[in-house]
């Protein structure tokens, strides 16, 4: 009687892990690489957005990062996870982009953060979900409107750590490897960023 394929093998065939896709891509299977792109595009895009602040720039950075990753795929040894390796590439690209003086000038003239015009939730949906009251909503909206420029004005090192950690897409280990700093330093930067924000908000009249 022939042996039944194990559940793991079936799962592997349907949802191959990153390493399996990388091996296939290294062998020239671009479709496998396409699956990797689909799987990590959100994390890569948000990491880039945390650095460059503009969705259009983040899109270009993400695209460049994936193409570069494909070109350098032979150099991927599997010592770190593919996602971490990919995010490190994306972060370097994003930092290069951020350093561009022209981009800086464009950003100063027309800030394009999502908070300036984020998608509004349907009020009925909020009510059904037991969300905050209208008054609380107004206070929170006011607070966040004031927080966004304060976050943008943080020192870059603190802001990067805060945004990457706050995105929810990356763990501290991953952020540490992306930024090339120890995990303890990542945690300190996040904590320091929050402390500075609290201090500024208190000074602005949002008493504790």
């Amino acid at each position: 009687m022939p042996a039944q394929p194990s559940i793991d093998r079936v799962t592997e065939a349907v949802h191959p892990d990153d390493l399996a896709l990388v091996r296939r891509a290294q062998a020239g299977d671009t479709e496998a690489f396409g699956m990797l792109v689909e799987r990590h595009r959100r994390a890569v895009f948000r990491a880039a957005l945390a650095a460059v602040r503009s969705p259009a720039d983040a899109d270009e950075v993400a695209q460049d990062a994936f193409v570069t990753a494909f070109r350098k795929l032979d150099g991927f040894r599997g010592e770190a996870s593919f996602k971490t390796w990919l995010l490190a590439i994306a972060w370097r690209k994003a930092i290069d982009r951020r350093k561009s003086v022209t981009r800086w000038m464009q950003r100063i003239v027309a800030p394009t953060f999502a908070s300036d015009g984020g998608a509004e939730l349907d009020p009925m949906e909020r009510l059904a979900a037991g969300g905050p009251t209208h008054e609380q909503d107004l206070m929170t909206a006011d607070l966040q409107r004031r927080l966004a420029p304060l976050i943008a004005a943080l020192p870059k090192k603190l802001r990067d750590a805060l945004l990457l950690a706050g995105s929810g897409d990356h763990g501290y280990d991953e952020i540490g490897q992306m930024l090339g700093i120890p995990v303890g330093t990542v945690k300190w930067r996040v904590s320091e960023a929050r402390r500075m924000l609290r201090k500024k908000m208190t000074a602005m009249g949002y008493e504790r």
């Binding site: 020239g28 671009t30 690489f33 983040a58 998608a119 607070l143 966004a148 609290r198 504790r208």
Partner: protein, 187 residues
Amino acid sequence: MSVDRLEDAIDRAVREMLDVEPPADLRARVMERLPAPGSQRPASGFRLTAPGFRLLAAAAAIVLLTMVVAHRSEPVPQAPVVARSADRYLAPEPTRAVADVPLVRTPSGLPVTRRAPREEHTRIVAAAAFTADEAGAMQIAPLNTIAPISIERVAQDAIAPAGLAVRPLNTIADIQIAPLTPPPDRR
């Protein structure tokens, strides 16, 4: 406002700043930039094409040629002029001095080893020469005689100090001290 509320607001603000979905066609645009299946995936780094190689070789040749020409046209150091006669000047001839290479012998008479030869260096010696005719024709005026200097003898005058008169000290009168009397209220 509580600390929790402020912390919560920070979290929300951060999430909202990054709450942007990547464009749906990101994958398609990435795939467009990748080589088609079956074709050779470009290796990392740069690949040197034939025209590129020719260009690089030509550039290297130009650099090499420039270096050789620059090396050949370096100015030869001139010897310093240390003396001149009227119109004759003998160019200095470089003399080459090679330092001795000492030999070291071991006390036991084992094979002699030679130290590394010292660096060979060249010394430039400058000199001037006169012919016999030139030397004879030169007239040197005699030195002027110097008149003897006369110095008067130093005269020694005797110093007679004036007589000193010391006035006798005044006599001190005896001091009379009256006996103390206690004040009237101390009785």
